[in-house]
Symmetry: C2
Subunit: 427 residues, 2 copies
């Protein structure tokens, strides 16, 4: 049974118990939210090492890290070190987006080693195989695509991105829209190419019921991909994007009816004043299904700093109800990220999620902030460092300059304001 | 005459002409906004190397970089290299916050070399001198404080931070408030200490008219400091902060009546859902005077990444009407920043300002974003790099991995979405 089916039968699963304890929410409330589809627990029955996480209404905002090889850089050990960093610094999920060779091997190791949910985009593997065998994605058979999906579900993948909303109708709107950057979703572009070459409907849309049957067996959560997501500010919130979102809302309802858990993927590149509206629109069109956003990036002019442009958008998105943030690293738009990029991107995304949780008033969200304030007032540097998001970096900065007075820092030295007034306010 | 006096007499100054050209706004509109106090041009008549900048309503959001020595690190060359970095990467102003020895020397060099407005906090120098001479800031005489201010104004400082709102009434409220971190403003803490020791009113408040006379001679813009700014989320938007803001509003009106230009300084540490309110409150209580915010930081738990916590808050602040952002570096709360910290902090703040400008619909704010989108669609990497906020870093990332196909990047390689669909959308 899927988590959704348990909830529909008013049964409490082990996963629900763990999530309710981690999140300090009542397990009955959690079960009701899973039943209504506003919370998911992506937990493949074959992912044995998993510590399950809940994503959605009333829970802390989660953060995903993308890993994976590409043809230009295929280094298993590097990707596994990225996985270690992700878990160490508090990622809530990882996606294996590999497109190099030996896709099965790396995915199996990641699932085996990962204590957090693992996601994939199965069409990548189908596309890589088609290109290898026929030189071209257009030759991908529907059978191949569904076989790959089934294989990944059997292996223990907890959630899969499937671009089911990229259909003839949304592609038509895309053509009419005259975008600046057209399609920037890799999976979306594979399907657009396939659909145009074959002059057929997207099999993930046309045979959606078959897809539901496959994923349900192992309780794989669908992450309905946004193939039409904007790739620049100018393309944000346009007709092709929102038309696809309407379709995803319809597909959400069908998934729920079949007992399949669903998240919705969202933009992308969005001007700061359109973020709240995008979140509210998703909640409305998709009946409150958890929203998994990529960024959103609030400007296009900062390559090398897109972890920051995304942290701005992600914080605002989380505050207004986004449930799950896909990290973006400083390497975005420039190269495949290295280990340091992964860490910087993850911390930026954790900051966004946490700031958003304070804004959406998640219970206890400010506790650590208040502890930090107390440690600062008391010059308790050891605890300031220990509860910070990245103790290693905080310590490195702190220790880089020798100090006469160990209570203060080199910014103000003896003129430390906190120290100056402490005597007047301590009773 | 000050810029405000020119405007009151309906005269157009050279500085107004330059600002109107740089900002592509009508010079008559600009003059009216200066007249109403909603725009300032901090331009000391003795700052010969200055290219003036406008700050306020209808203009792009500006960014300030803090420089300066401390007793624990006194290295003139380092601070001058920070100045070069600031100007190179687009800072709109620098503040010399030195508290080491030889304050006059470093300040004179900075003013001489800086083509952008220079700000200071004169009480730092008065405090350093008092501590040197008497071991204690409480012994600072009013005469010393005003002499230092006058000296700095004569030297060519364009704007000075003066914590005139730290008065007996706001200190009383601070005591009653029971904050977690009390006072975190350096200048604020000097004054609190002085006031409690001497049992007297803050001279910057009590003799505010004398201050106005001094600054007016050289058209030095007042930046009314927020000594009561919150030092943690828990202390944000409390009675002591807002009481001080009310006082600053009253002082703004008196400055305007005297022909003196004014900005208001603001928080600090503010939860994401209180930022818009803080901006609107300042605009209301201070009759639309330009708002100069420090951050705001949206969480306290990320030392080492406070350029990011500030970029989130700064972007939202700018969007809702903040006019001037004080950068925060990754070193904040840990140490005096080094050159790399300065650059990282500045770029983060530029991202915030720019994203905010898009949100507040500054004319042409999206132009560069749209250019970037076109360059990305066309695989024009050279221009993508050249128009990015930090071309050096973008190029470094781009060049770090060798590529088979020079059109794409190593993230997706041959599976580049933009490349895949280009053929279908190029007519």
């Amino acid at each position: 049974m899927t988590q959704l089916e348990y909830a529909k039968k008013d049964q409490i699963s082990n996963q629900m118990v763990i999530v309710s304890e981690d999140e300090r929410v009542d397990v009955q409330v959690l079960k009701e939210d899973i039943k209504s589809g506003t919370v998911v627990i992506p937990a493949n029955i074959n992912h044995k090492s998993l510590h399950p996480k809940g994503i959605g209404k009333g829970l802390t905002t989660k953060v995903n890290v993308n890993l994976g090889t590409s043809k230009d850089r295929e280094d298993f050990d590097l990707e596994l070190r990225k996985l270690d960093i992700s878990i160490k610094y508090g990622a809530d999920a990882v996606m294996d987006l590999s497109t190099g060779d030996n896709l099965n091997s790396i995915r199996k190791i990641i699932i085996d080693k990962s204590t957090i949910p693992v996601g994939t985009v199965p069409i990548y593997q189908a596309a890589v195989k088609s290109v290898k065998d026929y030189g071209f994605i257009g030759k991908m058979s529907r059978a191949l695509l569904f076989e790959v999906i089934e294989e990944q579900c059997e292996e223990g993948v907890d959630f899969i991105t499937v671009h089911c909303g990229v259909n003839q109708s949304s592609v038509e709107r895309l053509k009419n829209q005259k975008r600046l950057t057209n399609v920037v979703s890799r999976g979306g572009s594979f399907l657009v190419e396939w659909m145009i070459y074959n002059n057929k409907e997207n099999p993930l849309y046309e045979y959606y019921d078959d897809l539901l049957k496959i994923v349900k067996k192992n309780d794989v959560t669908l992450s309905l991909g946004d193939g039409m997501r904007p790739g620049c500010l100018a393309d944000a919130t346009d007709r092709s994007q929102i038309h696809e979102l309407i379709t995803l809302g319809e597909l959400t309802k069908r998934a729920w009816e079949s007992g399949v858990q669903v998240m919705i993927e969202g933009p992308g590149h969005v001007p700061i004043d359109q973020i709240e509206m995008n979140i509210k629109l998703e909640k409305s069109l998709c009946n409150g299904a958890p929203f998994y956003v990529l960024g959103p990036l609030v400007t296009d002019i900062a390559p090398g700093y897109d972890h920051i442009t995304s942290a701005i958008g992600g914080a605002i998105a989380a505050w207004h109800g986004a449930d799950f943030l896909c990290y973006v690293t400083p390497a975005e738009h420039l190269r495949l990220p290295d280990e340091n990029d992964v860490k910087e991107g993850l911390i930026a995304s954790k900051i966004a999620a946490h700031s958003g949780d304070i804004g959406k008033r998640i219970k206890g969200a400010k506790d650590k902030d208040n502890m930090m304030a107390n440690f600062r007032r008391d010059f308790d540097w050891e605890n300031q460092i220990n509860i910070s998001l990245d103790p290693h970096k905080a310590r490195e900065y702190r220790d880089s300059i020798s100090l006469n007075d160990k209570e203060v820092c080199s910014m103000c030295g003896e003129y430390c304001a906190v120290k100056k007034v402490k005597k007047f306010f301590s009773e």
